[in-house]
Amino acid sequence: MIKYIFRRLIYLIPVMIITSFIAYMLVYLSPSSPAQIILKARYTSEPTQEQVEDFNEEYGFDKPILVQYTSWLNKAMHGDLGKSLTDGSDVLEDFIYSFIASAKLYFSSQLLALLIALPIGVYSAFKANSLFDRFSRAYSLVGISLPDFWLGMVLVYIFSIMLNILPSFGYTSPKNLILPMLALGLSSSFSLIRLVRTSVLEVLHLNYIRTARSKGLGEGQIMMKHALRNAMIPIVTVLGIHLTHFIGGAVAIESMFAWPGLGNFFAKAASSQDIPVIQGFVLLSAIFFIIANLIIDIICKQLDPRIDFHNESGKNNG
């Protein structure tokens, strides 16, 4: 197990190098120099040629790409991800700040989604083809067709504009969390209902459920102890894949509710060509993504003892 984790973490290194290099190249595909936009933001006016040259020299943008990249990589290895070009704040600190904001939104909304989807999905599978099942399937099918940001706008329209009881944006008070959480949670719940239903339904057809029934277990026990536990394996796997929502998937919702999460943070950095931030962000989220996948794998292992880490190639994390 520890060996497995170690091997997976070793795999981080090439992915980190490749993704950060791609990110670096990406910035140089850009038609414009970062100096232009960043200086303009800094001084609220068109920068002069002198300012631009000075800026490039200071941040080393006048050197060849590879030299820049290796020196950045060297610093990154030592935990120094540099400073934002726009406001000089520490990239790592900024990332952690947005990370916490994203985590609040993501985990609360996923919890909400699970709270909605689990009972509906399980009951739907249990009473397959019943009226309730048809209803919940239609509900989730319509639901997954709604864009999350639009759902957010509808919520804002109802709660902030019509009823005027919830703030429509912001981050400071716990009340601010409610609407973005609802928007994201509801929109994730739709696909989750479908997932829970199919997973449970699939499990319910398996032989060991018949065995459980033959033992004289009650339907409730069968559902909780046998069906759900097995059905949770694909659900957890998919939830793990959904972790991408954490790193930018909620960008529309975040921008809509002015939530200072990772998506918002990254979109801002990308459009202002804040190279150290883009770089650091790509690197940190690649690390996060791989670690998150690893955690999900370990959780799956807990849920499913059949998974054997030793026979599995550490390279394959898709």
């Binding site: 209803f135 239609a138 319509v142 902030s160 609802l182």
Partner: protein, 519 residues
């Protein structure tokens, strides 16, 4: 279809679910009571801590002061009690008020003033601060500071530059290494009416009265400025009662209250305070790269082809159309009401185009996507110009690309602005119409020798009468040569709850020093 009904039912269910989340509602106060705190929504971070910058203008207005201010086109004293212009303008000597203190209690002396200018020079913060005009700064004594100017860089425009917010004087203790202006600014200690009590980057800044302020003390006990980046979100914030006011400052078109929301805000009972600026949004020609624009008839045709009243309609009439002249009445030394030199006339535009020998004209306009109003304006222009058989091509792009494309020949028209908030009218007009000016940069408006000469006469003289005559000549010159197409006169707005009283506009920008608030 069978599931048509069902999806409908689902929507109802979803709606019911949503309504189901309704919690408790606010209990409104019945009688009005005097408030001690005001909550303000603002679109930018105040930048209390910054590596190279000087803090956002809201911060410098609230918590800082400058040597001078510009009011009604005139430079007036602030930290400087008086000044003396020597060597026919090449030296300006300021006499600083005695007894001024920073908010941390330390004294404000000429040394501290020099420190700020040293910082701007060291960090190359030359935009609008006019520090690149300066040859040398000399502290004569504790309360006297002399600025020596480079050849040809002097003039009234240089003096007005001291009112720029980038030249706000801060305490040496504001820097990471106190007294070293090249180190990052870690806190903002100024001499303004307010001081910063609390600051969370990109979230909020809290201001409390600065007890060391030399002027009239502020009336409120606290102002919290929430940073809400999204324009619509700021409006929703005041509608939902999370803030008491939404404030614009002039930021070159970003972070302002969407104009087309003002009417509905007014209807909902909010106060909408407007301050017109001596600034005009114009359509600029890319004449440096495209020869075609050197034809006066073509420039005039564009001017006749645009219906400025409809542009005003885009903003629900909250912005005045530039029908009268290139600048509104609040610009220095102008009374241009009713001049109407280029009244909307598509027929005339067409005939001018024919005269110029141009058919099937399809100019390309570049638009910065970050400014939603600019995009809408461009779409409106596109449909308007069709009336005069001009087929306007739009290319909407983000700010980065926009800045890049703007330097090339790959565009014909863009939205631009001339003049500015009061502190910038001298340098901006010089920068727009005189190629030799430091602010001219990569692209000014159309200019000619006549225009350039006239703008110098307007911004250079220290003598008011000379300046006035210069401005008249300048206004006439750009009008005669159709330097650009004036579209509308810009303004800044403050939207506030009913009980908010006493918002002042000084040098085009709103101030909350004397504000009281009853709720």
């Amino acid at each position: 279809m069978k599931f048509g009904m069902k999806s409908l039912l689902c929507f109802c269910l979803a709606a019911l679910m949503m309504v189901g989340f309704v919690g408790c509602s606010n209990v409104g106060a019945s009688s009005k009571t005097e408030q001690t705190e005001l909550k303000v929504a603002y679109g930018k971070d105040t930048g209390v801590a910054s590596e190279k910058g000087n803090g956002d203008m809201l911060l410098t207005i609230f918590a800082g002061e400058r040597l001078v201010e510009v009011v009604d086109g005139e430079v007036v004293p602030s930290i400087a009690e008086s000044w003396e212009v020597k060597d026919s303008g090449k030296t300006i000597s300021f006499k600083i008020k005695e007894g001024l203190k920073f908010s941390d209690g330390s004294d404000l002396t000429a040394k501290d003033v020099k420190l700020k200018f040293d910082r701007n020079i060291a960090t190359k913060n030359t935009s609008w601060t006019e520090v690149d005009r300066i040859e040398k700064i000399e502290v004569a004594d504790d309360y006297t500071i002399n600025f020596y100017y480079k050849d040809g860089m002097d003039g009234y425009v240089a003096l007005a530059g001291f009112a720029e917010y980038g030249n706000t004087i801060v305490s040496p203790n504001s820097f990471q290494t106190p007294g070293d202006p090249t180190t990052p600014m870690v806190k903002f200690i100024g001499s303004g009416p307010w001081k910063v009590a609390d600051y969370v980057k990109d979230q909020y800044t809290t201001f409390v009265p600065n007890e060391n302020y030399s002027g009239d003390p502020v009336k409120l006990e606290k102002i919290t400025v929430s940073m809400i980046k999204d324009d619509e979100a700021r409006v929703l914030a005041i509608q939902s009662g999370d803030v008491d006011a939404v404030v614009d400052y002039y930021h070159g078109g970003s972070a302002y209250t969407p104009r087309n929301l003002l009417s509905s805000l007014k209807e909902e009972g909010f106060q909408v305070l407007k301050q017109e600026m001596p600034m005009t949004t114009v359509l600029a020609f890319n004449y440096t790269n495209n020869e075609a624009w050197k034809n006066l008839k073509l420039r005039q045709a564009l001017n006749y082809a645009i219906n400025k009243d409809e542009i005003s309609g885009l903003f629900d009439g909250w912005i005045s159309p530039a029908n009268d002249a290139y600048f509104s009445d609040c610009s220095p030394y102008t009374t241009a009401l009713g001049k109407q030199s280029y009244k909307y006339n598509p027929e005339k535009a067409k005939s001018l185009l024919t005269e110029a020998g141009i058919t099937g004209f399809s100019p390309k306009m570049i638009v910065n996507s970050e400014n939603a109003d600019e995009v809408k304006l461009a779409e409106l222009l596109q449909s308007m110009l069709k009336e005069s058989d001009i087929n306007l091509q739009l290319d909407v792009m983000d700010a980065t690309k926009y800045a890049e494309v703007k330097k090339t020949a790959d565009w014909d028209l863009c939205s631009y602005y001339i003049g500015g908030p009061e502190r910038r009218i001298y340098s901006r007009n010089e920068g727009r119409f005189d190629k030799t000016a430091p602010e001219f940069g990569s692209s000014g408006c159309f200019t000619s020798d006549t225009i350039a000469a006239s703008v110098q006469k307007a911004v250079d003289p220290f003598d008011e009468k000379e300046r006035k005559a210069g401005f008249k000549e300048f206004y006439a010159a750009i009008d005669a040569e159709t330097a650009c197409v004036p579209l509308y006169y810009d303004a800044v707005f403050v939207v506030a709850n009913e009980g908010v009283e006493g918002v002042e506009f000084i040098g085009s920008e709103p101030r909350f020093d004397q504000v009281t608030y009853k709720k």
